[in-house]
């Protein structure tokens, strides 16, 4: 069984493609239609706080193999995600607007190794991956604002040096 419906050509535009966070829907959405994403985000934000995923302690326990909690969260999420995507593909489920669902796979680059290792270091330091950074801000934790500003600077710096970095 093919791993996905799409194969992405690797060409001179590799950098553009790997770095794009592309929106595949042809349909334009605006105004109130976008609020449905806010509602899903709210649910997500509540889960982040209530399951203590935004806690620095939970992340330390994870990397010291002292608690099953985060492995349980990520493992369950991936399992539910795999089953859901498989069902969508098998039954060719369409979006609510009748579009074909498209998931364009991210092509492999060596940047995924270097970048992921660096991100892992930062994740263990801050106790926050990008989602929980926003949740920390919502939870009123001042550290969230500092980490957010630093993460923005990190992203900007990557953009500045992108073409000079090995990928």
């Amino acid at each position: 069984m093919p791993m996905s419906n799409h194969t992405q050509p690797m060409n001179d535009n590799k950098l553009d493609e790997t770095s794009a966070c592309i929106n595949h829907s042809e349909k334009k959405e605006a105004g109130f239609s976008l609020l449905k994403y806010t509602f899903i985000g709210m649910l997500f934000g509540i889960v982040f706080v209530k399951a203590e995923i935004i806690s620095w302690f939970r992340i330390q326990e994870m990397f010291k193999f002292q608690s099953f909690h985060m492995y349980g969260v990520i493992g369950t999420a991936v399992t539910v995600g795999i089953i859901s995507v498989a069902i969508i593909k098998k039954y060719n489920i369409k979006t609510i607007k009748g579009e074909k669902i498209i998931i364009v796979p991210k092509p492999f680059t060596k940047g995924q190794i270097y970048g992921s290792l660096l991100f892992g270091l930062g994740w263990a330091m801050t106790g926050a991956c990008p989602g929980p950074i926003f949740a920390q801000i919502g939870a009123g934790l001042m550290s969230g604002f500092v980490i957010f500003a630093s993460a923005l600077l990190g992203t900007w710096t990557y953009g500045f040096f992108q073409e000079k970095l090995p990928h």
């Binding site: 929106n23 994403y37 985000g41 995600g81 995924q112 660096l118 263990a124």
Partner: protein, 188 residues
């Protein structure tokens, strides 16, 4: 009912809800789950500085910023109306390790000795928040995804590059927590 909502939620509930966000986003708008790209969209919107990486139509991705606003509101609601009345439960071994390194605030989600505005003036507080945050922003963009985009969305679609990325995040975190953090925490 409210009491069980206020207690910390178990992993299987949290994991199931997070997993269901994948098909939900696909079905309501053909959107793939991924949060770190928002940092790029914010840079593109606010500080493009004529950098090629930030020259794209970020407005096309505005749904994701709406999603993030939801996360902020949700976290606010959970903190103010559903907060756990008890102190957080932490592994005793971790408590001991941290106590020996001068971290003794085990009341809340984050230890105040490390993550507060005051601690920003200590070496360890600055390194953890500022250097750590920088690595999160730089690393996720270099890796083209984070825990949501690679570990959850990518693995859900059985993409092997996302498995490589996930293994590397975990390896980086393991190295930091076990081998580097004990040194950083000494400098308060």
């Amino acid at each position: 009912m409210i009491d069980s909502l206020k207690a910390p939620w178990p992993w299987y509930i949290a994991g199931a809800i997070i997993g269901l966000i994948v098909p939900l986003l696909l079905i309501i708008g053909n959107k793939t789950f991924g949060l770190s790209s928002n940092l790029r969209h914010i840079c593109a919107a606010c500080f493009p500085a004529n950098i090629k990486f930030f020259k794209y139509n970020w407005k096309n991705e505005i749904w994701n910023l709406f999603f993030v606003v939801g996360i902020i509101i949700g976290a606010f609601i959970a903190t103010h109306y559903l907060s756990n009345p008890n102190a957080i439960v932490i592994n005793e071994k971790l408590k001991l390790t941290l106590t020996n390194l001068g971290v003794t605030d085990f009341q809340n989600l984050m230890p105040s000795e490390l993550f507060s505005l005051n601690s920003l003036s200590s070496i360890r507080g600055f390194v953890l928040m500022v250097v750590g945050g920088f690595l999160v922003g730089f690393g996720t963009r270099y890796a083209n995804g984070c825990t949501s985009g690679h570990a959850i969305m990518g693995l859900s679609n059985l993409q092997w590059p996302s498995l490589v990325a996930t293994i590397c995040f975990m390896l980086g975190g393991f190295i930091m927590t076990n081998f580097i953090l004990p040194f950083i925490l000494q400098y308060n």
